[in-house]
Symmetry: C2
Subunit: 568 residues, 2 copies
């Protein structure tokens, strides 16, 4: 029932927040969009039933239960549209070579330690979950077996959709005893094959666990003041918060709010053996023992399944500005970032860039987008967003900064969004790149952290290597030195791949970068971890994995080289 | 050679910062004070030799080596003064009952699994470190055996002062093989007995490892722009960054910059068996495998010894304001916080409070402090600091907010600091409480996270319980719901203690708080962990401890109940 009600304008969940727990419980919440429109809880209640809200309260009721989709975040794209886009794009990509590809072109063999499921197992799961939540329907299995870009495909024969922590616990307890491998799945938006089976792992999809259990209504004195998720990313239309936390998702506002390691206050996690670890807390500070929840943030479902999340939600500030700029070269983008950090200081909330190839890709493949500079094209484009508490002083700061940057020749042209529609259209250009790439054909995606001075060098080096055989796009979160390097071809091609890898990893390692800034390793890069981590660190990770999941049933073949954690 | 050069004006280390690594290496840095005075690297080089800087470069030279004191942060108190204060206060407290007290009044027995050191061991350590760094001198041992408040005293016979990661590794490798227990020590400013031996553990003091290896000179385009540590705390005059990270220190700017879990980019750690785990990174984003460094942040030296740190340093902003307010009741303080968060949004950088008893304590016991409101006393005092990029707009926001709050009756009186001297004198009132308490006699310290509405209730409840037998003070980081509850008596007294504990822990647990917001558990609260954590979570912590330190040699008797991690 995705998209029922078409909650289109909800950019993100807004919550009152107290920054500390309270005995008071409330399930009121706001959903507000970039257009600032708000809906109060009451009229939303029914429409959001299967989307973001719900009435399930935990026994520690001050906790959030944020394993929820925060749906429909692009006000211009309704959920129905999103679904049809997914459908449409899957049709297109089906025409491409449909197989595991990229770094995982040689598929990791199935471990013989894992049992194959039998009729008795299925009966057992049905007894736990009820008939309709132990799914063998071919269409639903097909969707669960494949990622949305159709790059990775497993052959699971069973999809389980638990509705509570207790059910997740019972499932895992059984799977652990029978040595049945599982893959946790949320919105299934992984870009590295992290959320689909590699072989016949049982899929545990926790999409039903999408209730907000409670939030702290901080503003006893002004209930009109909202709060936001400290995370905003391209997949916000379909990703889930449990998956965001498992992947340590970064996104567009990382520059302002930082890592989820600093924003997640508490977690409830089910370990491989079914035991439930309650690390929920709504306290900003808690130094009692090791901060174990941190282990699960970014572990991609290989150490436990996250069933509840408590998040620090920063206040919604009154004033937001967005500017779209054209720059002549990469050095100007860099300088602009340095100047912007200083001049805009505490109000800067996003600093994104995209190159000319990215702009062309969007303009050529997405409908309803337009170049803010009419027909003029620039080599680079920069989006700067500010968020602050006072409109006039924010605007003044921004305009002063832009004026000075124009004088210095760092900006060739620029537009300040004048209204919500323009704001959305600017964001659509940046956020639409992924979608445009899928429409264009095959895409090889790399997500790199690279020292900022060198960040664009890899794009140019890749263009030189690939010549006319591919389009090479560079865009991403410049404010965090995070490049999304994307290579677009008509169809997946091993020859192209051999020119890309291992070159891209070797280059990144040589420049002291990270081969996964925010996407994670998944199955795509599990055996590439040594490009960014030392053998000693990887061995320690493997020891932690073996401690928490001795039989290796949780999301096998992902994150770490299988040889370190699986007997066979 | 503490204090050599008398670097008095250095509030914190300022660094150029790039937010990403670079091939460029520089050991330039700034030390600047609240008065904004800066000194460039060159003239500081010699003076700072033993304080913050140095020439040691790691083999991954882009990394910080921030196991450094950031000394002399109170411009009014020279290091020499600080030393004499410590000396003076230790003389006074020696007059009190000198023994382990507080939660640890029943001392945990020595584990028989640990070897006692012998002559051969000492010879071995001398061979590794040289004669002068394997110390048996009585005075130095006495200092290393006791915390600065003279609450906890061990009986170590050996103090080791390694100067490099390699030396730390060799020490631990040997201790592990011989099953010799050790306690890592930095500035020895723990308030929970975390940094002194409980019995005869060998002290490994890493104060010598205080070099800045490198920093990223982000601002290639404007080298005048500085950067700051994302941490500021009362112990800044003597604490060390390795210890800050090990304790996950919070402090005054937590409200603005958040937890160290979000600000530490990388660590190098030596495990119990001597193996060196290089998790150093200067990247803002790196999702390659488990984020193991998080385990060591806040583990109080029980999982490994931190030997290198890479920190994200936010930009130094141009405008800082500080206001000192008098309020009639606790509810006004709460409301002021709520209003302040909204009105000051992105520029608020600290929100501290102290009650009348705290103010009296400071006025009565510290020299050179004065009441900003002359002879008028209020029941509560609030300090609000703003930090932003534009002086005029920040001032306007602050003044508007203060005006409205006065109108609403939330503020009874207030002073905006007009110059650096006034700024420092306001901070001295808040930061001087700990020092005043030590001068006043015995002090029972509790560091609690409590839901903000209930936060002051425990102070009043404690006053009722203790009557005239003690002075009960409440102050702390209101913006983070972090109360420092301090009970002052003429001398330590078991009867007083029995009225305080376990009441304070039971009350906190019943109100869903944390019994250690930022100080850690140390030896004081190791067996109190269940007040804030579930048995399942504690068992998992113990499993992690046994994995990383199977023989339990690292900082034994601390953080976790010994029964879980030590054979005897």
């Amino acid at each position: 029932m995705r998209g029922r009600g078409g909650i289109a304008a909800s950019r993100k969940l807004q919550r009152w927040w107290r920054g500390c727990p309270s005995t008071a419980i409330s399930d009121d919440f706001f959903v507000s969009g970039r257009d600032g429109r708000r809906m109060s809880a009451a009229p939303l209640a029914s429409a959001l039933n299967n989307v973001v809200a719900g009435g399930e309260f935990s026994n520690r009721s001050q906790m959030f239960h944020l394993v929820a989709r925060y749906k429909g975040t692009n006000p211009l794209m309704k959920l129905r549209d999103y679904q049809s886009f997914r459908h449409d794009s899957s049709q297109r990509t089906l025409g491409l070579k449909l197989r595991s590809f990229g770094s995982a072109s040689i598929k990791v063999p199935r471990s013989t330690t894992f049992s194959k499921i039998n009729t008795e197992d299925i009966c057992h799961f049905r007894a736990i979950l009820g008939e309709k939540n132990a799914i063998q329907d071919e269409d639903r299995l097909s969707a669960a077996n494949s990622d949305w870009m159709k790059k990775y495909r497993g052959s699971s024969q069973l999809l389980l959709t638990p509705g509570s922590t207790e059910e997740v616990s019972q499932i895992l307890q059984y799977c652990d005893s029978r040595q049945i491998a599982v893959v946790p799945q949320g919105g299934n938006t992984s870009l590295v094959g992290g959320s689909v089976p590699v072989h016949d792992e049982v899929v545990i999809n926790i999409s039903r666990m999408n209730k907000i259990i409670s939030f702290d209504p901080v503003n006893l004195y002004d209930s009109q003041c909202g709060f936001i998720m400290p995370l905003d990313l391209g997949a916000k239309g379909s990703c889930q918060i449990g998956g965001n936390v498992s992947t340590n998702a970064g996104g567009l506002r990382f520059l302002r709010y930082g890592s989820l390691h600093g924003n997640i206050l508490g977690l409830e996690v089910v370990l491989a053996n079914g035991s439930v670890i309650d690390m929920l807390s709504t306290l900003r500070k808690d130094n009692t023992g090791y901060d174990l929840k941190q282990l699960f943030i970014g572990s991609e479902g290989t150490l436990g399944i996250i069933t509840k999340v408590s998040v620090l939600t920063p206040p919604l500030l009154a004033s937001t500005n967005l500017v779209f700029l054209g720059c002549r070269d990469y050095l100007s983008c860099q300088k602009l970032l340095m100047e912007g950090r200083k001049a805009l200081g505490e109000i800067i909330s996003a600093f994104e860039f995209m190159d000319c190839a990215s702009m062309e890709m969007v303009l050529n493949h997405l409908e309803g987008v337009r170049n803010p500079f009419s027909s003029s094209m620039y080599d680079f484009y920069v989006l700067i967003e500010t968020t602050g508490s006072d409109e006039s002083s924010d605007k003044l700061k921004l305009e002063t900064f832009l004026g000075k940057s124009m004088e210095k020749g760092l900006i060739d042209d620029g537009v300040i969004a004048q209204d919500m529609s323009q704001t959305l259209s600017f964001w659509r250009l940046r956020e639409g790149i992924t979608e445009a790439l899928v429409k264009a054909g095959a895409v090889y995606k790399y997500d790199l952290s690279i020292p900022i001075q060198k960040l664009y060098d890899i794009v140019e080096a890749m263009r030189t290597r690939l010549g006319h055989s591919a389009k090479v796009l560079g865009y991403g979160h410049l404010g965090d030195s995070n490049l999304h390097l994307n290579i677009s071809t008509a169809a997946y091609d091993d020859e192209v791949l051999s020119k890309i890898e291992p070159f891209v990893y070797e280059w990144t390692a040589a420049n002291r970068g990270s081969i996964s800034a925010e996407h994670g390793l998944g199955v795509m890069k599990a055996d590439k971890i040594y490009y960014s981590k030392t053998p000693e660190a990887v061995n320690l990770m493997a020891a932690v994995k073996r401690l928490l999941d001795p039989k290796g049933i949780l999301n096998p073949y992902k994150v770490l080289p299988s040889s370190l954690v699986l007997p066979n």
